[in-house]
């Protein structure tokens, strides 16, 4: 299967997820509407709510790449100084038939990397100085291929939208919960709306987040596989992951961008983790 076909398949699966999370959001908006303005038409509430959410998602869709690069303090990589980085990247774009992404460098001792950009033509790949210093050529190439794979599989689009939607869900749930302490609703509010509203305010953000994280972990595996298909050398990436799991430096990153990184900066591993366990990833790569 050529990667282009894989992207198609991947897109379809993402649509399913991007359908699930908005459904949760719409349910939340509907119930919130019934609690606070039970006399207003539910359709009006839904239209208004989804309109505002869409604006929020669009804003983060168009602005997220700039924001992320400035949050982590990444600088564009110099063509002359980082010739090897550019050479390796160019080779990978030839192999995968992708456009050349912009390259950035983040001053950070820990080995890591991330990709952003809402479509392949606007792809950005950022590596830490630690990755440049500590990884061998083949390992760095494996990491770059993994990041390029994220761009190719359109993971960034998907993650940006999912994270933005979950942001909206969290805000509404927060509001709902707080207002409940002060006795939400009025005389017209149906009692069921309060009960369901309370349950949703607690469950909606958690379930939406769990769905997103599950997909995020799947996509890490997929990016590993796609990356290995680009280099035809899974060992490069496997050995880079091994180095990463042995490093001691703690990474100082904003939690809001942790899902972007090549390997989990926080080393947690459970249902609330953005990445699958590193050993599992290495094992799968070595079996390819």
């Amino acid at each position: 299967m050529m990667l282009q076909d894989q992207i198609k398949w991947n897109k379809r699966k993402s649509y399913l997820l991007l359908f699930l999370v908005p459904t949760i959001l719409l349910g939340l908006i509907y119930v919130t509407g019934r609690i606070f303005v039970p006399t207003a038409s539910p359709f009006l509430i839904l239209a208004l709510g989804s309109g505002i959410s869409t604006l929020y998602v669009l804003f983060s869709y168009f602005k997220s790449d700039e924001m992320i690069l400035s949050v982590v303090g990444a600088e564009p990589a110099d063509q002359e100084k980082h010739k090897q980085l550019y050479d390796l990247m160019e080779g990978l774009t030839i192999s995968s038939g992708m456009p050349m992404p912009k390259l950035y460098i983040q001053d950070q001792k820990q080995i890591n990397a991330f990709a952003t950009g809402r479509k392949p033509e606007k792809g950005v790949i950022c590596v830490t100085t630690g990755a440049l210093d500590k990884l061998e050529k083949d390992e760095l190439e494996g990491v770059l291929a993994h990041e390029l794979a994220h761009i190719q599989n359109q993971d960034i689009l998907f993650m940006t939208v999912a994270v933005a939607l979950i942001g909206v869900i969290s805000i509404i749930s927060e509001l709902l919960l707080h207002s409940m302490f002060f006795g939400a609703g009025n005389d017209e509010t149906p009692p069921w709306a309060i009960a369901i509203g309370f349950a949703l305010a607690i469950l909606a953000p958690i379930s939406a987040r769990l769905v997103q994280l599950a997909m995020s972990r799947k996509r890490e595996y997929l990016a590993d596989a796609t990356g290995a298909e680009i280099t035809r050398y899974p060992e490069g990436l496997a050995s880079a992951l091994e180095k990463i799991s042995q490093q001691n430096e703690k990474m100082k990153v904003n939690k809001s961008v942790s899902h972007l990184y090549f390997s989990n900066p926080f080393k947690s591993r459970n249902w609330f983790s953005t990445h699958p366990p590193t050993e599992k990833r290495i094992e799968r790569l070595r079996l390819m």
Partner: protein, 186 residues
Amino acid sequence: MVLEFVALGIAGIAAAMTIYYYNKIVKLENRVDNAWAQIDVQLKKRADLVPNLMETVEGYMEHEREIMDNVSESREKMMNASTQEEEIQAGNDMGQALKSLFAVAEDYPDLKASQNFSELQQELSSIENKIAYARQHYNDAIMTFNNAIETFPAVIFANIFNQTEKSQLEIETADKELPEVDFSSE
């Protein structure tokens, strides 16, 4: 009446399928052409570096005439190649010739110390890497094309449009690094 509708329906479906498969085959063929262009670009880039390389090694490697001639000859062949096969052959020859040149260069410390030479060596090594990737991409594109025209029902349309299977390039076992051959007699 019913028969006419059925006939019309069948004709419509046949027309739609023809258009669909025609476009699909054209797209995949363009992808193959584009993939070939990538190889071509890298081969030409490498060939362009050869005169510069020859000039650099000239003073040091007088005793290695044969190896130097091999490189120059492969470049000559590449420049005169009129078919894809010739170009690929010339490209393979050049790869081999450069490989032995760099292997022999290990014997010339002065040459190795020259900054010009080490820069060229690095540049050529990175182009070598890109050529390998370009070939891989080309073969992927050909495989997709072949799969597309050999599966049913596409195979029927491929026959109508006179499309036949394309052959892949032979991939040499991937050398990730330039070989470090040591001929010194220690």
